[in-house]
């Protein structure tokens, strides 16, 4: 077997070599993570950031990812999809609107139920 296989079962060796990693796993760490120190060659930050973005865009554009609902990394802690929130907001507005219409149609009944 020449390609690293995804780890399956067995005990991990916590000092062992990282396994199951593909090129994307490696690039996202060495380009995007790790400690940033401005060396003597001042190319680093912007160019590497740009590169990271480009690498992500090779196939799935950000818009495409959003369209697919894969945008929840944007609101890290809550893990909630912006699309979902927008959807809820929209639904909420619709319901309010319907409620308002119903109240207009049946003013007597709404008043009767009011305390």
């Amino acid at each position: 077997m020449t390609t690293p296989a995804p780890r399956s079962g067995g005990f991990p060796d916590p000092y062992g070599h990282s396994s199951g990693a593909n090129l994307a796993d490696i690039l996202e760490r060495v380009l995007d993570k790790g400690i940033v120190i401005a060396g003597d060659i001042r190319i680093n930050l912007l160019d590497i950031e740009l590169l990271t973005v480009k690498l992500r865009l090779i196939v799935a554009s950000v818009d495409k990812a959003k369209e697919m609902g894969i945008d929840w990394w944007e609101s890290d802690p809550a893990l909630s999809s912006r699309a979902r929130r927008d959807e809820l907001t929209r639904e909420n507005a619709e319901l309010r609107e319907r409620l308002a219409r119903l109240e207009e149609l049946e003013p007597g009944r709404v008043r009767k139920e009011a305390p």
């Binding site: 993570k33 940033v36 120190i37 003597d40 690498l55």
Partner: protein
């Protein structure tokens, strides 16, 4: 040939030697540069490749980038087997040893703090993918063409709904998995989904997370991930690691910069 000093990582003095055959970027063997209780792991790289113009051109070349990234990670990986390294970002380059020492001295307090925090910890990566949905089977013998515009729209709505429900289920699983793993980890980070062209993975990447776990708790963590693979239904859970704590070693200028811009904008 003039050379520059490429710095892979900063760590405490090693308790055990690095493996003898280890090579770094460009095939050069990494060396240890010791300074005031810390060591920098460095190697010499050709100036032509790592000067501003050279590097800029190379970074556009995915093959060069992949080879360099793998070499960088290879050294970090070897270090991870004998110590807790603070991995530096790819292509951190200095003129000479004395410039590296100056940097180490300037950042000494940051390095010591980060080393203290990460000592004995490793990073595990966990990703969840949807399995690509099979093409709907065409009923044999019957033409499967929509007979009217209304029929076509109805079908499209049904497809869209099925797709959305699948993604919602995947997201719900990813969220619950993340909560469970986070409870077993000291810290966690959510990364953007991976690019399928680079990862070669099938399906959509709905979770791409990193967890900081103590080495002596890693076995439990890995077993937990393995158990969840059975509950994943039509989803695929992938584990990578142990990594050096790449996702948790952030310190200094860039984080300060991101701290400002990453806040909820208006």
């Amino acid at each position: 040939m003039t050379g520059l000093r490429y710095v892979y990582a900063v760590c405490r003095p090693l308790g055990a030697p690095l493996q003898a055959q280890l090579t770094g970027v460009g095939g050069a063997p990494p060396a240890l540069l010791s300074h005031r209780g810390l060591i920098a792991v460095v190697s010499t790289v050709p100036e032509a490749d790592f000067c501003e113009e050279g590097l800029k051109a190379h970074l556009e070349d995915l093959d060069w980038l992949a080879a360099t990234a793998r070499a960088h990670q290879g050294v970090i990986d070897a270090l991870t087997t004998v110590t807790t390294p603070l991995p530096l970002r790819l292509a951190t380059v200095f003129r000479d040893d004395s410039a590296v020492r100056t940097m180490m001295e300037a950042r000494e307090a940051d390095f010591l703090r980060a080393l203290e925090r990460l000592e004995g910890r490793v990073e595990w990566g966990v990703k969840v993918f949807t399995e690509p949905s099979p093409e709907p089977a065409e009923p044999a013998g019957k033409p499967d063409r929509p007979t009217s515009g209304r029929d076509y729209l109805r079908r499209r709505r049904a497809d869209t709904r099925a797709h959305e429900e699948g993604l919602q289920a995947a997201e719900a699983f990813a969220r619950s998995l993340h909560e469970r793993l986070r409870a077993q980890a000291e810290d966690s980070r959510l990364h953007p989904p991976q690019n399928a062209a680079l990862s070669g993975a099938r399906g959509s990447n709905v979770l791409n997370a990193a967890y900081l776990v103590r080495r002596d708790r890693s076995e439990e963590f890995v077993e937990l991930v393995d158990r969840t693979k059975d509950e994943a239904g039509g989803l695929r859970v992938e584990l990578t690691g142990p990594w050096a704590a790449y996702s948790f070693s952030g310190l200094g200028e860039e984080d300060a910069r991101y701290g400002v811009s990453a806040g909820e904008g208006r």
